[in-house]
Amino acid sequence: MTDRRSDLFPILGVAVLALGVVGVARLMTPGPRHPADSAPGRTAKRLQFGGYQVTGRTVTIDAPRDRIHAMWRDPRQLALFMQDLVAIEGTPDRPIWVIDGGHGPFRIETRLVEDRASESLAWRSVEGADFQVEAKIRLRDAPAGRGTEVEAHVAYVPPYGLLGHWAAKLRGIDPKTRGRQELKRLKMLLETGEIATASNQRNT
């Protein structure tokens, strides 16, 4: 019994060594190159793109593209589905978005940098704005007559960096959560004529 055990140790030692060598060799060998896949960039696992957080969401809305485009161009309509929007000031080409940030409103001065009928819209914060952001809406026909795929794409520099980003995320006021909720409200408004609420009291 004792002899057999003493036989086992060298065998085990060699096996462990062999595994170690194979493991290290694996780590040293470069894996296959991964060419870009078909997924949108914002779904990539990397966290930042040159200091910008990139996020977005696509929602299919059963409405024609031009109608959805018109909703985004009309401040009165925007206020219906952008719950945190306090006001839009400035001009249509240079709108200032007044957003409720949880601790009072903040202002983002932007330029309309793209406006293609029934296709796309984009705004970019002007230089020196408090909040660096670019927001883009793309509209394309959904397959099988399902209406329009509305894609919102937001790139921004989170205030207070990654810490600020996670703090906002935990409170549900990060651009990703807000954007998702805004698109869903827009969908409700266009598909049902109203925005769903579980409240059974008008004033709450």
Binding site: D62, Q181, T192, G193, I195, A196, A198, Q201
Partner: protein, 389 residues
């Protein structure tokens, strides 16, 4: 108004709360004339479905009279309606495909987040249920705000007693869809786990759809007697080895289709169920899936598995191998109530379906807490409780 409210595990009370108002244009306000306690209310009572908040008004099986309408409601004051427990907009992709319980728009955006995280997609809206499904105030109350009242409510002619049609709100279409999901061919054998209201209606529906033999499984003598009364053969799992019996009763093949009308609070002393119970007690989102495991083992190769029973979390020790190797088909889901309303109402009016046999107790709304307690603790005798405000 008076309403039954949830305050925690095994703690429901009658409270005075503000009357509901018309909030959205398609709303209507219903004065409740009859409401029932559902088996899935017991999942809330037992606090195994997540996302309830203190003070929530429960109840999703209700009917009543229209007392107020929003400018875009198609209902008229005074009409009698049964209200589906699923809240559905009628115009999204899912509603158009008659997948009403999967409605994309009825769950408010703020409450869509939890189910998107837990299930991968936001689920629809339900009355008197979890905040994952909207947290809509329910129907065990004097009045209810009914959203999308132009889509959901089933108008009932005067002169038909409430009890004849009340169950169109949930359990009758749920039992019907459970049987429909079995794709029953003439002569098929169907095994049904659970002889609660949904199981019993599934038995009735399967026989109406041409099943040759329906075998119902439970342990409450009174519930088994009700199943037998509908024309089912029965197995008492406390007396009989269920899997062996099902094989012997189906010529050694196994049932062509199986229905799990039990859901996440399965009974029984089986080892898997004891482990599930322990995990459920410490609140880690474990479902007690014993009935479903048995159903997957029992069903014949290539058979159909229908799951109307409610699940909310995770299951392990799951016979995935049986599912794949036997080539089973699984169908499930909250009921697409609006799909079935008018057809089932016609069948009730023609006398093809009777639902009143189920009702064991009639209480006033004020006695609802007592109804919950007994429906949970004495399932043999308390098969269905109807409450009247």
């Amino acid at each position: 108004m008076r309403a039954l409210t949830w305050h925690g595990k095994h703690d429901v009370r009658m409270d005075t709360v503000p009357d509901p108002q018309i909030v959205n244009p398609r709303d209507a306000i219903i004065e409740v004339t009859s409401t029932a306690i559902c088996g899935s209310d017991l999942h809330l009572y037992d606090a195994v479905i997540p996302g309830l908040q203190g003070g929530d008004i429960l109840g999703h099986e209700f009917m009543g009279r229209v007392v107020e309408t929003g400018p875009k409601s198609t209902l008229k004051k005074g009409q009698r309606v049964v209200v589906p427990f699923t809240i559905s907009c009628g115009s999204c992709f899912f509603c158009k495909a008659t997948l009403f319980s999967a409605c994309d728009n009825a769950n408010p955006v703020e409450t869509q987040e939890a189910s998107e995280l837990l299930y991968g997609h936001a689920v629809g809206g339900l009355f008197g249920y979890s905040h994952m499904t909207g947290g809509y105030p329910g129907g065990q109350a004097e009045y209810v705000r009914v959203p999308y009242s132009d889509v959901g409510p089933i108008v009932v002619p005067d002169g038909v007693p409430d009890e004849d049609v009340l169950f169109l709100s949930d359990i009758l279409p749920t039992g019907w869809m459970a049987a429909e999901n079995c794709d029953i061919l003439p002569g098929d054998s169907v095994a049904v786990w659970g002889c609660g209201p949904v199981g019993l209606f599934a038995v009735q529906s399967a026989l109406l759809m041409g099943a040759g033999r329906v075998i119902a499984i439970d342990h409450h003598p009174n519930r088994l007697a009700l199943a037998r009364g509908l024309g089912a053969d029965v197995i008492d799992y406390t007396q009989t080895h269920v899997l062996e019996a099902l094989m012997e009763m189906t010529g050694g093949m196994g049932p062509d289709a199986v229905i799990d009308a039990v859901g996440m609070e399965s009974h029984g002393m089986a080892p898997d169920n004891l482990l599930d119970t322990a995990k459920q007690k410490v609140g880690i989102g474990a479902d007690r899936a014993h009935a479903l495991r048995m159903a997957l083992m029992a069903v014949r190769k290539g058979g159909r598995v229908s799951i109307p029973g409610v699940y909310g979390g995770m299951a392990d020790k799951f016979p995935l191998g049986a599912l794949m190797e036997k080539g089973l088909q699984v169908r499930s889901g909250q009921t697409h109530v609006q799909r079935y309303g008018s057809r089932l109402l016609d069948m009730i009016m023609e006398g093809k379906i009777d639902t009143t046999f189920l009702i064991s107790h009639r209480l006033s709304l004020e006695e609802a807490p007592r109804g919950y307690r007994n429906f949970a603790d004495n399932q043999n005798e308390w098969t269905k409780v109807v409450l009247t405000p």
